[in-house]
Amino acid sequence: MNISVSAKKLSVHLGGQQILRSVSADIPAGKIIGLLGPSGAGKTTFIRAIVGRQRITSGRLTVLDRPAGSASLRGDIGYMTQAPAVYPDLSVQENIRYFATMLGLGKTESAEVIAAVDLDKHSEQLVKTLSGGQKSRVSLAIALLGRPKLLALDEPTVGVDPVLRQQLWRIFADIAASGVSIIVSSHVMDEASRCDELLLIRDGELLAQGSPRELCERTDTKTVEGSFLKLVGEQS
């Protein structure tokens, strides 16, 4: 099995607090991996460590066979931050093209990702005039630039209406089908069923890893939410 991200006893301290506690996990490549847990569990920090924005305190974190944060990884990883990190005073196209240039790409690739998130009709529009859902799609488009091998999406569906959420998950499924590894964090447990494999985390610790079905069978529950609650109960 191919591994996209491998964590060994990964710990991260931030401002005197331990955010991740000795997390060990091998994340398979080419699948949609859900990083699930309540807010404050350490999901964002884990994702920031994977994309190389967060220094790790101890342990090892390997991404696409290289240590996280390696310069050679820039361009291989698409990163979508929790809030749509885009320039509100630029048009959709200007935003995409700027980030494309940073990755050494041109207009063709920019048009490609705009089409992938279905924003062709809005490409001349200023981002600040877009709806919240459209903004997150611009943000996703930037993450898709350069056909990254790994996509790290931090709560991409938070505050998004059900129709758009459906749309986004369809896009994710398409991308995963083309061989890209996707790590997507969420605190909405019912999104778990859309992932191939789940990592349940709480208080910076990995509670369990497995497919939604495995997790339900292992804990003898019907839903991922149920198994999460059972695992928390066992732990305390």
Binding site: R55, Y79, Y87, E94
Partner: protein, 244 residues
């Protein structure tokens, strides 16, 4: 470092401002309006105004670009766009130079307008002519941008960022020789003024106004300004971290 990424960053910054017409109008017109105002404050003292106006041209670009840059880079941090850029191959120098270039270009336009007002409309004699004056103004703006980039790293909110203006710029403004000739100030303040870059920006403008040729002192003043700006720019790029 890559010239393409630097230029793309400048282009992006300018494009953002192009969509923000009011900010552009303020950058371009404010110095002109204020200069006219000062002219009438000094209406019975033309000689005083003549020595004052060129110095103002070495100060305005610095202050305005300081403010605009510190807010712009603070926004990059809070919006998360800097986070995003730092996972791309852009180098930190590309980022800061991109900003410096964009705002220096704006400063050039600003300086053209202000020089026109000073020389043509307000009849201030500038012996060295308009070209050295533009050079001086653009370098002052470059310095302001560098300071803005650097100090914005220490601001966690816009409230703090705007107050760095009185904190970092006002002391320099008070001792730069605009209000009282530096030789007349207390000794300690003279030393302080000697290590503050704005003093050199103001001295350069004085040289430009009072000599019909490019003086050695002017070269020295401008070189100090550039050296300061580059130094602060490098410090600014160090404050941007790839990893938190």
């Amino acid at each position: 470092m890559s010239p393409r990424r630097t230029l793309a960053t400048s282009g992006r910054v300018l494009r953002q401002l192009r969509h923000d017409k009011r900010t552009l109008a303020l950058i371009f017109l404010l110095p002109c309006v204020l200069l006219v105002l000062v002219k009438y404050i000094f209406q019975s003292e033309q000689a005083l105004f003549n020595s004052f106006a060129p110095m103002v041209l070495g100060i305005f670009p610095l202050i305005i670009m300081f403010l605009v840059t510190s807010i712009a880079t603070l926004r990059e941090r809070t919006l998360g766009t800097l986070d995003r850029l730092m996972v791309t191959p852009i180098s930190k120098l590309d980022f800061v130079l991109g900003y410096a270039l964009a705002f220096s270009l704006l400063a050039l336009v600003q300086a053209c307008l202000a020089s026109f007002v000073v020389i043509e409309l307000l009849d201030v004699p500038v012996l060295a002519g308009v070209l050295p004056m533009l050079v001086g103004a653009v370098l002052a703006a470059f310095l302001g941008t560098a300071f803005g980039l650097f100090t914005s790293a220490f601001a966690s909110s816009e409230f703090q960022a705007v107050q760095f203006l009185p904190a970092f710029i006002f002391p320099q403004l008070l001792v730069c020789g605009l209000f009282v000739p530096r030789e007349q100030m207390a000794k300690g303040l003279q030393w302080f003024a000697d290590v503050m870059p704005m003093s050199y920006s103001v001295d350069a403008m004085k040289q430009i106004a009072s000599h019909s040729y490019w003086t050695g002192a002017l070269t020295r003043d401008l070189m100090v300004v550039v050296a300061f700006a580059l130094g602060v720019l490098v410090l600014g790029s160090i404050t941007i971290r790839r990893q938190d």
